[in-house]
């Protein structure tokens, strides 16, 4: 039952932002972190959780041996912790692990009810329940490149696909917890301090070091407040403040407002690109592809595109290999 089709999806901040909105979580977005330094972390504003993604090798990711942390008995901490029962769902599960543990977020009626209903399940049952949560699965699959066709006799691509693994970090009760669906429970990774996101840097760093020998494909993303709304609110607040201040101070505030306006504009451009990419991800191109091929065939061009495709392929192969050495 749990195997009822979760497709692999790409890990992309725009996709995850769209997914959060599709499953009913309000006023959030996902930002990719290109550098784990204090400055870029602090720019994020309010951070609900961090997703750490890496390419998973079965032999080294397994086991409950925890370095630099304490594995907690799931029932001993009031954290919503679910085991991962299907690989392909893990991105979405990592997102859920964060939003279901962020009481300050509006996660919509359906997710709230789901959380309430499953809160006493054990981690395996929670994982199974998530994998059967239709709204979430539909939202997840709508972003997959192979959502529109399942052919008879088609092999399941799970085994040879690159398996990515997602781990979430959240602040809880003064500590930083790592939520990894392949482990038996939440892992306490250290103190959160005054600024949990800053404290999170060395935690992720040390986790990276466990893998870094052959692993270059890391990805870190944060679930943060919707930036557009955040900038708008801040601008409105500053506008009010400006009215009450004298000339010199008011001009300083005006300069800050101008800065925020520029940030807001950049954010809107980014959102527009995300929106377009998400529409392209969800679109079914099979009819277009088939009609285009039919059009080319009806014009007698099929042989030409085959020749041309072969030539392109060889060109690519030759470019990547110079065998006479």
């Amino acid at each position: 039952m749990a195997d009822e089709g979760w497709c692999t999806i790409e890990s992309d901040p725009g996709l995850f932002t769209g997914l959060l909105s599709d499953i009913g979580v309000k006023d959030v977005q996902v930002e990719e972190l290109f550098s784990l330094d204090v400055e870029s972390m602090n720019k994020l504003g309010e951070v609900f959780g961090v997703i750490f993604l890496f390419k998973w090798k079965v032999q080294d990711g397994d086991g409950d041996q925890i370095v630099n942390g304490t594995l907690m008995e799931p029932s001993s901490v009031p954290i919503y912790f679910a085991n991962q029962v299907i690989n392909n769902a893990c991105a979405t599960q990592a997102i859920l692990s964060i939003v279901l543990n962020s009481p300050e977020l509006d996660i919509g009626t359906e997710l709230s009810e789901f959380k309430e209903f499953t809160k006493d399940f054990d981690p395996t049952m929670k994982g199974l329940a998530i994998s059967n949560l239709k709204t979430v699965r539909t939202a997840h699959n709508s972003n997959s490149p192979n959502q529109h066709f399942v052919l008879e006799g088609m092999k399941k691509g799970e085994k040879d696909d690159d398996i990515y693994h997602f781990v979430s970090y959240i602040p809880h009760d003064g500590s930083i917890y790592e939520l990894d669906g392949t482990k038996a429970g939440p892992i306490k990774r250290g103190e959160a301090g005054d600024n949990w996101i800053e404290a999170c840097i060395p935690v992720i760093q040390s986790r990276m070091n466990e893998y870094s020998v052959n692993e270059v494909r890391f990805n870190v993303m944060a679930i943060v407040r919707n930036r557009e709304n955040m900038y708008l609110k801040e601008i409105a607040k500053l506008e009010e403040e400006k009215k009450t201040k004298g000339e010199t101070e008011a001009s300083e505030i005006a300069a800050r407002i101008a800065e925020l306006q520029a940030d807001l504009e950049a954010e809107r451009v980014k959102r527009k690109i995300w929106k377009r990419e998400n529409a392209r991800r969800k679109h079914n191109y099979v009819p277009f592809v088939m009609e285009l091929l039919k059009l080319l065939a009806s014009k007698g061009e099929l042989n030409k595109i085959i020749e041309s495709a072969k030539a392109e392929k060889k060109k690519r192969m030759e470019a990547s290999a110079k065998p006479e050495s």
Partner: protein, 304 residues
């Protein structure tokens, strides 16, 4: 189509069991894998051969001797040159398609190295027509002069191939023939995937063709709303989102029975065909059908 465990004696028997095909040259040789800038011999025991089928099309084939499966099967429409790789310690040779469409490396597995020259001569004859062998002495593959016979110049080799040279452009009829005779179980087929057929490099120049550009208008209804302008279509076809879905579709086609999907788009796929072969065969039938309905081929098709 292939016969597992067929006789390890190679006396010109055709494992395809088809007497109309003739074997032009055949000897024991292994394949070489090309990885980056190095050539590594595939250690399996194999057979290299060139055959001519009943359509007089020549195939370069490589057969795994342990199971008799034809693993490589390439048509040689354009001229193919044989080159000996001088730097290699083993006895490696290269077949290079002159239109740069293909390049294959092999290593000799015949024990008697002295026979190599004979085999190379036979390959040249097979590739360039019988005249190449009858009128010419062995080719110039060994500049050190180890061959006792006078060497022909490379230029002579090339001119000699004249009569048998097939046009390098694949015709619709040849494509039809290839598809009909193809065994989808055999790996190394030279049929591009949908993703390769619709790569921007291939398809964008096509879409600029006025006759096609005009008909393309009827297809934009199948695209996302924001992507219906011609510029947007070009950008979309290069976008990672489109490429990913087409790649996934390619994979699905290669691993599954596409019949139902294809038929739902009015492409007449037969149940005994699968994947890309079914798609291309169906498209050829569609071509034949539209041509008979609409001989001028000028009017855009009615897509319903």
């Amino acid at each position: 189509m292939t016969t597992p465990n067929f006789s390890p004696r190679w006396n010109g028997d055709d494992p395809m069991g088809n007497s109309n095909r003739s074997i032009l040259v055949q000897f024991r040789a292994g394949r070489c894998k090309v990885e980056g800038t190095t050539i590594t011999p595939d250690t399996r025991k194999g057979i290299f051969r060139i055959i001519q089928d009943e359509q007089h099309l020549k195939h370069v084939q490589w057969i795994d001797r342990s199971n008799g499966l034809i693993e490589e099967d390439y048509f040689t429409f354009s001229d193919v040159d044989l080159e000996r790789i001088a730097q290699s310690s083993g006895r490696v040779f290269l077949l290079r398609w002159r239109d740069r469409s293909n390049k294959l490396f092999f290593w000799m597995q015949e024990t008697n190295a002295e026979k190599d020259e004979d085999h190379f001569l036979l390959i040249r004859q097979a590739l360039n027509g019988p005249e190449a062998g009858q009128t010419e002495e062995p080719g110039p593959e060994d500049p050190s002069g180890a061959v006792s016979t006078p060497a022909a110049t490379p230029a002579a080799d090339e001119t000699n191939s004249g009569q048998q040279t097939a046009p390098s452009q694949l015709t619709t009829e040849q494509l039809q023939y290839i598809l009909e005779n193809m065994n989808p179980q055999v790996s190394g087929l030279d049929i591009p995937s949908v993703a390769e057929l619709l790569s921007p490099e291939v398809v964008l120049p096509m879409l600029r063709d006025p006759a096609i550009e005009q008909s393309l208008q009827s297809l934009v209804q199948h695209l996302p709303e924001d992507d219906s302008s011609p510029e947007a279509v070009a950008e979309l076809l290069s976008s990672p989102q489109f490429r990913q879905q087409v790649a996934a579709l390619s994979q699905a086609l290669q691993s599954g029975q596409a019949g139902e999907l294809l038929r739902s788009f009015g492409i007449d796929a037969q149940s005994n065909e699968s994947g890309m072969v079914a798609l291309l065969q169906g498209l050829l039938r569609y071509h034949a059908q539209t041509r008979s309905m609409n001989p001028s081929e000028d009017n855009p098709m009615d897509e319903t």
